[in-house]
Every structure is written in structure tokens, then in C-alpha cells.
Amino acid sequence: MKKRLFAVLAAVALISGCASTTPAEEEDEASAAAQQAAEQSEAFVQNAKDRVFFGFDKSNLSADAVRVLKVQAEYLKANPTKKIVIEGHTDDRGTREYNLALGERRAVAVKNYLISRGVDADRIRVISYGKERPAVVGANEAAWSQNRRAVTLVKD
């Protein structure tokens, strides 16, 4: 669908990297940049650095979350043309309308932190899905804690 995760970006970048055996200098440069971006964004996904998690009914950033967001901020400063969308999500242990607001709060918490680390606010869009788009299915704390998240997606 519309979602371009870091993972997808990485895959696309790797493909273009593989195809970069042409002699044209520009293409080499472009693929090198893509390769670099791919490595960085791949690192995001592999280390689960594209998302941060929240406590039940909470939107404050944990120490773990801050560590993840620092990496995101560095990536964004190193790639100043990239824009991002931050998706806010909740578990299903709340009502639909309240959870839409809670998801927005979580996305904004991430946005504000990235801004505080020097990322330009104009590059960041937030969207809340409330409890509409869980990451995992389950009726237990393990599943719920995976779903209480904000996910940073890189847009071209």
C-alpha cells in the first residue's frame, strides 16, 4: 500500500545498487548514496530502530525510546532531503476515539523529540491510526506492548 517502511526503501536501494555496474559516473554516485542510505535505514529496521514503544495509556518517551530516536535524528540530519511520516498507534485496550487521540499524542512526542535534536519540523508529518493498525495480533501484554508504538517512515 502507501506505506514505505525503511525496509522497502532499503530493498529498492539495494536493487539499484546491484544494477550499478554501468560505467556512468553519475549513476555510480547516485547508487553509492543510495547504498549508504540503504545501509543506514537497513540498520534502523534490523535494530528495530524505526519504532519506539510506550507504556499503557502513556505517551512519554522511555530511555530506550530516546536511544532509538537519537539514531533516527542522526540519520535525518545526515540525509537532509528525506521527509518522514510518524505513525502513532495504540493497543486495543482502549476505545476507538480516545485511541486516535492517544496515537496522535505518541506521534507528536516523537516529532517533538526529533525537532529538539535539530530535525526541521517541516520534514515531519504525523498521523494517528489509533488501534486500527496493530503490528501483531494477540490478547496479551506481549502483543499489546508491541502495538503501543510510534513508527517512523521515510518518504522520498
Binding site: S128, A135, V137, A139
Partner: protein, 446 residues
């Protein structure tokens, strides 16, 4: 687009007969009583239509009346095999002893007269079997295609004559039809009669849509859509199918509801981590902010006189219910029980506020008085949410989502109805999973 639901031309005349002393009646406010035993024999037929075809129409009408009355839990229709009398016409007098013999308390007698191939006249009489007295009679002329609505109106009339309350059978439900995988549900607006008939999908599922609600005149639905990845409140025109975004808000708008007069919408807007309640005048398009706090203020619902708004807010730390004047003044917290309170909806009668409550890992549907006293929980589950009132304020519909199983298969999501006494919980049959129901006003009262 949508099939016109108002193609029924009605001549609805009723003649209330005198009140007997020991009235045949059901008190639906109090404790549970045995369903009233009703005789509902085949309607007799006459007129410009082959007898078998006319009888088929008459049988369909009787079936809808039976289904409506039975679903209310207040009536039981006696087995027609036991009936000792069959009627030849509407003037045929009931043999009361025959009906007393099978313990019928009430008797519904009816006749279908084909005035032409397309126009029918339906006559009904409601009898008190033990008092041997007519309680109600009515005649209506409708297009033959309008037989189903006519049957609902007859059931409404019987319900009203016996309970003293308006019925709710001639109503519709708008809701969200759910399909697809648990991680990426496809959600569509859908509409149906209150008994699940005349089902229709209104949107194609390309955009996530949530929380539809009827306008008081039934011409529009307000809902939330993720069209172009921009979650906003929309209006859907039922007649034309046209969809239109409401206002030009900088942040996500959601949780919309109409004012009782239909001229205003209230909704929430989330922006920069704060969610407040806004009102929009649909005639002038002027927007007014009603709450200003750093909290989440959402799920607003007007009182039936339009003078107050109930909503939920986490300004105290966790979700609780608050009532304020329609201009945003005089905010007062009304819920103080254990747990979190959400999705308050004011009864059309004004006497109760229904809500979703979360406590101890479970969800509940409950009601309380508008001042917060008298809390009563009437449904419970892993996830029950989003109560909506029948127009007579006696029944709540809500949705119930079962927990996923161990293999990660999502649980079923279905719409249920329950009397506010807590009795007679029943499931609505829908073609696919269903959530976010909203009950229409009584169509024939508009």
C-alpha cells in the same frame, strides 16, 4: 445510488378505542416479565391480485411483524398450528374463547387488499383477548414494494399500544463492515434496517472509515475517513452518495456527531498532542472551539435538548465523563467509579447517559443518570464498545469483539442489542464482521 427508502406513500390512520380498566399492557421499565402471548394468524386477502400471490405478500408482512415483536423479548407469538380460528376478512369478529383456549392474551388480526396490482391497503386490529375488546386498529395504503416498512410500522403501533412507548422497528442502522486481515482491516460504511434486511455497502473499502452517525433527518451520515492519508470528518449524503470533508482543520478531526436539530456538528480535533472539542455550524460553516486543555477531550454527545454536551476527558489523569453547557462553560465531572469511562451517549429521552467502561482488563457497556448517579453495567466482554440508543431510549446497540485465538486469528466482531434492563441480549446478523453501529431515528416520526 442508495435505494430510496421513502418510496412508501402512506395513509396512516388510527382509531384508538376506549381504555379498559385492567389494560393489557407491559411495563418495560421494571423487572423482567414473561413475554405477552400473542395470536398472529394469517392475514386474509382480497382484490386485484391472484390469491396465492396476495397470500404470499400477506405472509411476508406477518413474518416481519412476528420477527419484530419477538426480537423485543416482550412478546411471544403463539404457534399457528394451535389456532382454532382463521379470519376471512377484517370485519370477521374474533371468537375470543378460541383464543383464550390457547392462552393468547393479545390477538393481531389483519387483511391485505390489492387495490391494484401495485397498491395495497393493509388493515390491522389489535384485540385484548380476555377483555374481548379492540385496543387499536389502523389502515394504511402503500405501494406493494413498501410492504416491509408497513409491517415494521404495524409492529411499532402494536408495541406502542401495549407498552405506552414509541416503537423502534421502522429504523435503520449505519455501521462499519469489517473484512480482511487483523493487521490491515478493510472497513466500509454500510447501512441496513434494524433487523438486518436491506443491507447495503456505502463505500468501497479503499479508505479506512470509522464511527458513522446519522443526521436527525436521516439525509446524511457523518463519519471519519482516511481519504488521502488525511484523517478527517466527512459528510455522506445518503441520497446522492456524495462525500464531502467537513471544514479546513489543521489537525486530525474525528468523533463527529450531529446536534439534535441537525444544524451543527461536534467533533474532536487532535493537533500537536492536544485534543479539544469543536463545534461547526453546518449552515454558516463557522467553527467554535468548546474545550481548551492539554488533555484528550473527545467523544462528545449532545443532550436531546441541545443545551448540554457530555464527553470524555483524561484531564484528571485517566478517562472520565464530563458534562458541560453547549457553549463549553460549566464543565462538571460526572463519573467517579473505578476504571476508565469513555464514549458517552445521551439517551434520546434525556434520562440516561450510556458509556463504555474499562476496568480490570474487561470492557463494559453501562448507563448512568446525567448527574452521574445510578451507574448500572449491562454488557461485558474482552472488548465491548460504542453504545448507540434506540430512538425510544429503551435499547442499546454496541459491538463486541472477541479476543484473537492462540494462532493469531482475530476474534469475531459483531453488533449486539440489549435492553437497558440488561435483559434480552441478541446479535444482529450482518454479512461480514460489524462495528461502530449507529441507530437512526424512527423513520415514520420524522
Amino acid at each position: 445510488m442508495i435505494k430510496k427508502i421513502f418510496l412508501v406513500t402512506l395513509l396512516f390512520s388510527l382509531f384508538l378505542t376506549g381504555f379498559a380498566k385492567a389494560e393489557l399492557s407491559i411495563d418495560i421499565t421494571g423487572a423482567r416479565s414473561e413475554p405477552m402471548a400473542v395470536g398472529l394468524p394469517e392475514f386474509s386477502v382480497s382484490g386485484q391480485m391472484a390469491k396465492e400471490d396476495a397470500q404470499e405478500t400477506a405472509q411476508k408482512i406477518v413474518q416481519v411483524i412476528e420477527s419484530d415483536l419477538t426480537s423485543s423479548g416482550l412478546f411471544k407469538i403463539l404457534d399457528s398450528l394451535a389456532y382454532l380460528q382463521s379470519f376471512k376478512g377484517i370485519e370477521d369478529a374474533p371468537a375470543f374463547v378460541d383464543w383464550q383456549a390457547i392462552s393468547a392474551e393479545a390477538l393481531i388480526q389483519g387483511h391485505v387488499d390489492y387495490l391494484s396490482k401495485k397498491q395495497i391497503r393493509i388493515s390491522v386490529r389489535l384485540w385484548d383477548v380476555y377483555a374481548a375488546q379492540e385496543l387499536y386498529s389502523a389502515t394504511m395504503e402503500v405501494d406493494e414494494k413498501g410492504w416491509r416498512r408497513a409491517a415494521h410500522m404495524i409492529a411499532d403501533a402494536v408495541y406502542k399500544r401495549i407498552t405506552g412507548e414509541d416503537g423502534y422497528f421502522d429504523t435503520r442502522i449505519v455501521y462499519i463492515a469489517e473484512t480482511g486481515p487483523a493487521l490491515n482491516r478493510i472497513k466500509r460504511l454500510a447501512i441496513m434496517d434494524q433487523d438486518g434486511e436491506n443491507h447495503q455497502f456505502l463505500t468501497d473499502g479503499l479508505n479506512l472509515v470509522l464511527t458513522p452517525r446519522f443526521s436527525p433527518n436521516m439525509q446524511q451520515i457523518t463519519y471519519m475517513s482516511y481519504y488521502k492519508d488525511t484523517p478527517r470528518v466527512y459528510l455522506f449524503d445518503i441520497e446522492s452518495g456524495r462525500q464531502q470533508v467537513v471544514g479546513d482543520f489543521p489537525g486530525m478531526t474525528f468523533a463527529p456527531r450531529f446536534s439534535p436539530d441537525g444544524h451543527k456538528l461536534i467533533m474532536s480535533m487532535a493537533d500537536n498532542g492536544k485534543t479539544d472539542i469543536f463545534e461547526m455550524n453546518l449552515d454558516t460553516r463557522v467553527i467554535r472551539q468548546l474545550t481548551r486543555s492539554s488533555a484528550i477531550d473527545t467523544s462528545p454527545s449532545y443532550s436531546p435538548d441541545g443545551k448540554q454536551i457530555v464527553f470524555n476527558s483524561d484531564r484528571s489523569g485517566a478517562q472520565q465523563l464530563y458534562v458541560m453547557d453547549a457553549n463549553g462553560k460549566n464543565v462538571k465531572r460526572i463519573s467517579f467509579g473505578n476504571g476508565r469511562y469513555a464514549t458517552p451517549v445521551w439517551s434520546p429521552r434525556g434520562d440516561y447517559i450510556a458509556f463504555t467502561k474499562m476496568a480490570g482488563g474487561r470492557f463494559y457497556i453501562g448507563v448512568m443518570f446525567p448527574d452521574g448517579r445510578g451507574e448500572r453495567l449491562i454488557a461485558e466482554g474482552y472488548l465491548v464498545e460504542a453504545p448507540t440508543w434506540s430512538p425510544n431510549g429503551r435499547i442499546l446497540m454496541y459491538f463486541r469483539q472477541d479476543p484473537p485465538n492462540r494462532d493469531g486469528i482475530p476474534g469475531a466482531t459483531k453488533i449486539y442489542a440489549v435492553d437497558i434492563t440488561g435483559y434480552n441480549e441478541r446479535r444482529l446478523i450482518t454479512p461480514v464482521d460489524a462495528s461502530d453501529p449507529a441507530w437512526s431515528p424512527l423513520l415514520s416520526n420524522r
